[in-house]
């Protein structure tokens, strides 16, 4: 190693400091052994002195290596015992020897005390640990001009003092003393936290320097720096204690402060976890707490005197600062997401399975929180983009795939959604909701009837296992048949399909006699095959169960009119219009009925009313559009206007209208009606001119 060169001592000293600063314990152990006899003393001091210094280093290296291997025990605060850990025993022996001899310089004696304190803590002797720190006088130590490792030692010292005090509270008798003790603990944690950040920032600087200087490079890559347990705890203890005690405000403040410090490569992975917990917290933090004044750096008074500098914070004048907790959560989640995404294990090698599972769990936790936040604000487009990024490491993971599919359905990417749902169905064939959703898309916006049929049959094949969804499976199948019948050109095929549709829907009805939706479609199918009175009978049942359903009411009115019962038809329409005053498709039917039954005058009045209504709705839409124009537009909220509660949108409803047309006098007009219903959804998006023109035609027709 670096020992046998021209200036061995200086070089050795530097190397030792570097190892202690960067936590390279294996190397330190080797160096320390060189100091032990028969090696030369590092400075002009007695040989004994050098030997003690060597044992000090050796003790530290042994202890640290031992701790590294017992990470999980530390986390669960299970004390380590000398018996099982020979290195612990050796380290302790070295340290006690050094202290009893007392020959080292005061600086190193203090270090020995600090290391011994740590050792005591690890063994579970918390009182001894605290007394070691008292002897070392950590509150008065300075870090100015000291090498990097001193910062680390001090960080750990404060942390461990805090932890030890926290754990030995049962010895405290009085209440006042207890709260005093608690305050002391928190102060220790806060100091530790600030020191840890300072240490990490300094460390990063040194690492960068050594890297740029030496081509050989040290064995430590800065991105690979591992935080020891105590450093991690130092960063987190302050806010964890606050939050555990229920001091949400304080905890959040300290958490936010930690987050604001300029991150180093070493803290990056750690930060992800922090971000994660903060964004979770955001949800239930009382809104009453004003967000901290991000931009103003208020000097904090309580921390001890040795903090002569504070960690660097992100403080760009133009930096984005979230305005409420949802925005803050979103920002943090997006940051976490970018980290999680970057660090997720993508290789499929079997030996990396554990790593993969871990990183997947972390990442999907972030995606879940992101879904909750974005769902709350209705941002499904953005959510589906985020979830899409997750796919590269989510091979065969049902949850993430399903979430992606749902977000795609929610933002109207139907075709993509169906493909994703198909994958989901492969991953979890027993779940009836997956194929049902796909069938809904196929029947509705996509009009992929063959695919719809396939998905519906998958649900039916599940049989009893599909539970309450089985009836929906039959419903979907019936609807596909019915739509196929409408599309069919040959009369024979049409009849065949209509018959199949009716049978399937009746089966659905048997399975779920209480479902008004199924009854509605059953009666619609009956109407299509001209069994009008049966249809009316069923429809009335549906209306018993669900009195205000727009589609049922509309169909009932059309059925009455088909039987030439214009008055009841009008009554029904009036009832429906009262509940759905802004539904154009209802109003058009109303106009037609009035024209047939009451003559053009009354129809004209309704037309006028429609025009006014149209203008009103249009202006609202315009208004909201102009509000949105400057921003990313989410699929318009208004699309939900016409009741999409049904598996099948209105289009089918008016199909039936046009069938009925023959029985009503002017079939031409009915055709227009069906056009209009299609239009009424298109109208919202924009082509207003067309719409107006259509209204005009109606006015003419009315006259």
């Amino acid at each position: 190693m670096a020992a046998k060169t021209l200036h061995p001592h200086v070089k050795l000293e530097g190397e030792i400091e570097r190892c202690r600063g960067e936590g390279q314990w294996g190397q330190l152990r080797l160096l320390a052994r060189q100091l032990l006899p028969p090696a030369r003393p590092p400075r002009k001091a007695g040989a004994q002195d050098a030997e003690d210094y060597g044992s000090l280093l050796l003790a530290e290296a042994l202890l640290e290596e031992c701790l590294k291997e017992n990470f999980s025990k530390l986390k669960d605060s299970i004390p380590l015992s000398e018996k099982n850990e020979p290195r612990l025993r050796d380290a302790k022996q070295y340290l006690t020897d050094i202290l009893s001899r007392g020959r080292l310089r005061p600086k190193y004696m203090t270090e020995a005390l600090l290391i011994l304190g740590k050792l005591h803590y690890v063994e579970g002797s918390y009182r001894d640990a605290v007394s070691m720190y008292a002897r070392a006088g950590i509150d008065d130590l300075s870090t100015r001009g000291e090498p990097l490792y001193v910062l680390r030692l001090l960080t750990e010292a404060f942390l461990i003092k805090g932890l030890s005090l926290e754990r030995s509270t049962n010895s405290v008798a009085s209440r006042a003393r207890l709260s005093e003790r608690e305050e002391e603990v928190v102060a220790c944690f806060q100091t530790a936290c600030v020191l840890a950040q300072l240490y990490l920032q300094e460390l990063e600087k040194t690492l960068n320097n050594t890297h740029s200087r030496s081509i050989k490079g040290s064995s430590v890559q800065c991105s690979e720096f591992e935080l020891s347990y105590f450093l991690e705890a130092a960063l987190q203890s302050a806010y964890v204690t606050h939050l555990k005690k229920g001091n949400v405000v304080e905890g959040m403040r300290s958490l936010r402060e930690t987050l604001r410090t300029v991150e180093t490569k070493a803290t990056q992975p750690f930060k992800m976890v922090l971000l994660h917990s903060l964004s979770e917290d955001c949800y239930w933090s009382p809104l009453s707490d004003p967000l901290p004044e991000f931009m103003s750096k208020e000097g904090q008074s309580c921390v001890s005197s040795l903090l002569w500098r504070r960690p660097e914070l992100y403080s760009d004048e133009n930096a984005y600062c979230p305005q409420d907790n949802v925005e803050e959560a979103l920002l943090l989640l997006l940051l976490s997401e970018s980290m999680a995404n970057r660090d997720a294990v993508i290789s499929r090698a079997p030996e990396q399975q554990d790593d993969r599972a871990l990183s997947l769990r972390d990442a999907s936790a972030v995606y879940d929180l992101l879904s909750i936040t974005l769902g709350r604000r209705g941002q499904y487009v953005m959510l589906s983009e985020c979830l899409e990024r997750a796919l590269k490491f989510a091979f065969d993971e049902f949850h993430l795939w399903y979430q992606l599919a749902l977000s795609m359905v929610a933002c109207g990417k139907s075709a993509h959604a169906v493909s994703v749902l198909r994958e989901c169905a492969k991953l979890r064939p027993a779940d009836p909701t997956v194929p049902l959703l796909a069938a809904k898309l196929c029947i509705g916006p996509l009009h992929w009837l063959e695919q719809g049929e396939h998905f519906a049959k998958t649900v039916i094949d599940l049989g009893e296992d599909a539970g309450e969804s089985l009836a929906k499976g039959y419903l979907a199948l019936g609807l596909t048949y019915s739509l196929q019948a409408t599309d069919a050109t040959l009369k024979g095929t049409q009849d065949e399909l209509n018959k199949k549709a009716l049978q399937t829907l009746e089966r659905a009805r048997e399975l779920a006699p209480e479902d008004p939706q199924i009854i509605l479609y059953l009666s619609l199918q009956l109407a299509l095959v001209r069994q009008i009175s049966d249809a009316i009978e069923h429809l009335q049942e549906a209306l018993q169960l669900c009195p205000h359903d727009i589609n049922s009411l509309h169909l009932l009115a059309l059925l009455f009119s088909a039987q030439k019962h214009y008055q009841p038809a009008l009554d029904v329409i009036h009832m429906a219009v009262a509940e759905y005053p802004e539904s154009f498709s209802l109003l058009f039917t109303k106009v037609k009925l009035e024209w047939m039954h009451r003559g053009p005058e009354e129809a004209l009045v309704t037309c006028r009313h429609m025009l006014q209504l149209w203008q009103m709705v249009y202006s609202v839409v315009q208004h909201s559009n102009s509000e949105r124009s400057s921003s990313v537009t989410e699929t318009p909220v208004i699309k939900k206007h016409n009741g999409l509660h049904l598996l099948l949108p209105d289009a089918h409803d008016t199909d039936c209208g046009s069938q009925r047309a023959s029985s009503l006098a002017a079939s031409r007009l009915e055709q227009a009606l069906s056009e209009i219903t299609v239009q009424s959804s298109a109208m919202k998006q924009g082509p207003a001119q067309l719409w107006t023109a259509l209204e005009q035609i109606w006015l003419q027709a009315g006259k």
Partner: protein, 340 residues
Amino acid sequence: MLAVDTGLVEEWLSEFKTLPEASISSYATSLKEKSALISSLYKVIQEPQSEASIFNLLEPVCHQLFEFYRSGEEQLLRFTLQFLPELMWCYLAVSASRDLQSSGCIEALLLGVYNLEIVDKEGHSKVLSFTIPSLSKPSVYHEPSSIGSMALTEGALSQHGLSRVVYSGPHPQREMLTAQNRFEVLTFLLLCYNAALSYMPAVSLQSLCQICSRICVCGYPRQQVRKYKGVNCRIPVSSEFMVQMLTGIYYAFYNGEWDLARKAMDDILYRAQLELYPEPLLVANAIKASLPQGAMKSSKEGTRCIQVEITPTSSRISRNAVTSMSIRGHRWKRHGKKNI
């Protein structure tokens, strides 16, 4: 409903009317503590049909709650807000059973609150928007350079920079609730309620969870499992309304109402599956997956208790695992070597 309750409510009704202007704010602060009164008011709302005497109380109670809301005094406003879930349930249950007369005053109260909430102080329509942060802009929590290159997707390009997105509004004034606008109004009301969630007392959160569960299962086979009496018909819901319900329930989970929230979430999931609504399915699945394994019993006594642990972070993932990061780093290294 006992005579004691009636007495308390009547006292509350008359007390506010005679209150001098100056003492309103101290009165408002003291209201929160009157738990007996609050539970009596719940009874008035919950049992409108039970007795004639109570029936007479519902109307003045609704009226006074609206007066509270209109007063502009924050504390009074929140006092009214805490009853919102229960009022919604009552309205929905009654309107589903077509007994519209008896819900008239509740409907008026809900509409009143809605019409007050959709405008700001100057009377302009309120448009609620929020900012979608962009990682390519520095923020108080990060610097773009530390993130590394971002995926160059269409979305990322179009969202370069911050963007404001409208998530609610503008909403038109409403004079009555119809089947068409019912859920638009109720969803907005629930949004307002959710914005004030952290001020809501435990009773209100409990009521929220219970009514969500009821709304979702009434009329469905699961009603028998839950043993809910009273309403037997299905209550239609919109998917946006369900998402708003989930927001409140998510908060309830971590604020002392674990069991009730769990039940409510399961029922929303059940209903969303039957309705095939993607939005609530998405959010409910996410909530379910993010729940910690064991129930948070400990948070029962002390609400607002956040469970955190010191989390080990570093390198549980071994060095040689292939990640996007490592692939990027890999290329970079080779590039660097060429330069030397």
